[in-house]
C-alpha cells in the first residue's frame, strides 16, 4: 500500500511540476544555471570514467579473444558495441544517478527543512514547478551530449591503450569500430539515456521535495533518491531494450 501511495505522490508532484511557469523569465534564468550545474559539471567524471572503461574494455576483449579463428577486428567491434549499447547510456546513468541524483535531492531537501520551499509557497509561487522543472529539462537536454561525449572518449580511450600497449594495430581497431555499424544503436542509446535522465532528476527531486526533519533526514532522502533511481534505471533498461531492440 505504501508503494502505491508513494507512486501516487510522485505523479501528483509531476502534475504540479509540468505546468507553465509562473514567470517564463525566471525559468530561463534558472535553466542555464542547471545546465551548467547538472551537465557541464558532470563532464570531468564522465570523461574520466569513459576513457578508463574504453581502456579496460579493449584490453579485456583482446586478452579474452586470442583465438586465431576470431577476426582481427573483434576487439574494436566489441568495445564499440559495449560502449554504444550499454556503457555510455545505462552504466553512465547509474553513475550520474549518484552524482546528480544526490545533488538534486540534497539541494531541494535542504530548502525544504530550512523552510525555503514554504517561503516560496507563501509567496504564491508554485515551488515544485519553479525548483524542479528547470532541473529536469536541463538534465534531459544535457544527457545526449554527455552520452555522445562518453562514446567518443571511450572509443578513443580504447584506441589509445590498444596502440600504446601494442596489443592491436590502428588498422585492426579502426576496422573493428566501423564493422557492421548500426546507426540505430546510437539513437537507441540516446533515447534510453534521456529517459534515464528524466528518472534520475524527477525521482531525486521527489525525495528532496518531501524531505522532513533535519540534516540526517536530508541524507536519507539523498540515499533513497540514488538507490531507487538506480533500481528504476535497471528496470527501465530491460523494458526499453525489449521495446526498441526486439
Amino acid at each position: 500500500m505504501n508503494l502505491f501511495r508513494e507512486i501516487g505522490k510522485y505523479f501528483l508532484l509531476m502534475k504540479r511540476v509540468f505546468v507553465s511557469p509562473d514567470r517564463t523569465k525566471m525559468f530561463f534564468r534558472q535553466f542555464p544555471k542547471e545546465l551548467e550545474k547538472l551537465g557541464l559539471q558532470s563532464l570531468p567524471i564522465v570523461a574520466i570514467i569513459s576513457v578508463f572503461i574504453g581502456f579496460i574494455m579493449t584490453m579485456q576483449t583482446k586478452l579474452n579473444t586470442s583465438n586465431p579463428l576470431l577476426p582481427v577486428y573483434t576487439t574494436g567491434l566489441v568495445t564499440r558495441d559495449t560502449l554504444l549499447l550499454e556503457f555510455s547510456s545505462t552504466i553512465l546513468c547509474l553513475i550520474l544517478a549518484g552524482k546528480v541524483g544526490s545533488n538534486i535531492a540534497s539541494e531541494i531537501g535542504t530548502m525544504r527543512i530550512t523552510e525555503q520551499i514554504d517561503a516560496l509557497e507563501i509567496m504564491g509561487v508554485n515551488s515544485a514547478n519553479y525548483l524542479i522543472l528547470p532541473k529536469i529539462i536541463a538534465f534531459v537536454t544535457m544527457m545526449p551530449f554527455l552520452v555522445i561525449f562518453s562514446m567518443a572518449l571511450g572509443i578513443g580511450g580504447g584506441y589509445f591503450v590498444g596502440v600504446l600497449t601494442n596489443i592491436l594495430t590502428t588498422g585492426d581497431y579502426l576496422i573493428g569500430i566501423q564493422y557492421a555499424f548500426i546507426p540505430y544503436y546510437v539513437i537507441y542509446s540516446l533515447i534510453k539515456s534521456m529517459i534515464f535522465a528524466f528518472i534520475i532528476s524527477s525521482v531525486a527531486a521527489y525525495y528532496g521535495y518531501y524531505s522532513y526533519g533535519g540534516a540526517l533526514d536530508v541524507g536519507k532522502s539523498s540515499t533513497n533518491a540514488v538507490v531507487n533511481g538506480s533500481i528504476l534505471i535497471l528496470f527501465f533498461n530491460i523494458l526499453i531494450t525489449k521495446l526498441m531492440l526486439n
Binding site: M26, T114, E115, M123, G124
Partner: protein
C-alpha cells in the same frame, strides 16, 4: 482583517484545534501565544493555508480561504508576507536579490523600479547598503531577520505572518525586530499575526493577544489586560518567572 470561525483541525484522530474563533484586526500587532504543543503553530499554518482545516471558516477580508481552489489560494498569498522562524532566505541569492525575488515573480514594474523598491525595503529595516550584495550566510541572525522582513513587505502585503520572529536572537536585537514589526504594521496598515513564546514581545507589542491552551482559545485581550487576568493557565504561562511575577504585582 482576518476572521477565524469555529475552526477544527485533527491529525490522525488527534484533535489539535477545537472550535477556535478569533478576529485579527488590521493595523495592529495580533499575537498568538501558548505553550509548546498547545496548537498555536497549527492555528497559524491553518490560517495561512499550509494545513487544510476540518471545519470552520478563515476569512481574509470576507474571502473564505477553505472554499478556495489551490490557484485562488496562490493568488491570495500574493497579498501575504511571512517571516519564518529561521528567516528562510534563499541561499543562492544575495540579500538584495532575496528582496527582489517576489517582485520579479509578481510585480509588473521595470527592473529599475524593482531594484529601487527592494533597496527602499532594505533601508526601511535599517540594513546598511554594504550588506546588500552579501549572501545570507555572510550576515548575522538579526540581519537575516531584517532581510526576511524586507522581503515580506516588498510586495506591500495586506497580511503579515511572523513565526517566532525572535527565535535565536539576543534580547536587544529581539526588541529591535519587535519594534520594526510593530512600526511596519502601523505604517503600512497591515494585518499582522505573530506566533510567539517571547514574553518580552508580548508585553512590548501585544495589542491583541490570543492565548491557546490545549487547542482551544482560552483568553483574548491586550498587553495591558494581561496583568489583570484570572485564567490560571495563562498566568502560569506568562508570569512563570520571578521577574514577571514582580512586574505583575507592580502593575496591579
Amino acid at each position: 482583517m482576518i476572521e477565524v470561525k469555529n475552526v477544527d483541525k485533527s491529525f490522525d484522530g488527534n484533535h489539535v484545534l477545537k472550535d477556535v474563533s478569533a478576529v485579527f484586526e488590521t493595523g495592529i500587532t495580533n499575537m498568538i501565544i501558548g505553550q509548546s504543543g498547545s496548537g498555536k503553530t497549527v492555528l497559524m499554518k491553518s490560517i495561512i493555508g499550509l494545513h487544510r482545516i476540518d471545519n470552520g471558516e478563515i476569512k481574509y477580508d470576507g474571502r473564505n480561504m477553505p472554499d478556495m481552489r489551490m490557484q485562488e489560494i496562490r493568488i491570495l498569498r500574493r497579498e501575504v508576507g511571512m517571516l519564518f522562524q529561521g528567516s528562510a532566505l534563499f541561499d543562492s541569492l544575495s540579500v538584495l536579490e532575496n528582496v527582489m525575488y517576489p517582485l520579479e515573480m509578481f510585480s509588473p514594474t521595470s527592473k529599475e523600479e524593482m531594484n529601487e523598491r527592494a533597496r527602499f525595503c532594505l533601508k526601511r529595516v535599517n540594513l546598511e547598503e554594504k550588506a546588500f550584495g552579501l549572501a545570507p550566510s555572510e550576515i548575522s541572525g538579526g540581519m537575516q531577520k531584517r532581510v526576511a522582513i524586507a522581503r515580506a513587505i516588498a510586495l506591500q502585503p495586506k497580511y503579515l505572518f511572523c513565526d517566532e520572529p525572535n527565535s535565536g536572537l539576543d534580547p536587544k536585537t529581539s526588541l529591535i525586530i519587535d519594534q520594526l514589526i510593530h512600526e511596519i504594521t502601523h505604517e503600512f496598515e497591515i494585518t499582522t499575526i505573530i506566533n510567539s513564546h517571547d514574553m518580552n514581545s508580548v508585553m512590548e507589542i501585544g495589542e491583541n493577544i490570543i492565548f491557546i491552551e490545549n487547542g482551544e482559545k482560552a483568553w483574548q485581550g491586550n498587553n495591558k489586560d494581561i496583568f489583570h487576568v484570572d485564567n490560571k493557565a495563562l498566568n502560569d504561562f506568562v508570569f512563570a518567572s520571578e521577574l514577571y511575577k514582580k512586574v505583575k504585582s507592580t502593575n496591579q
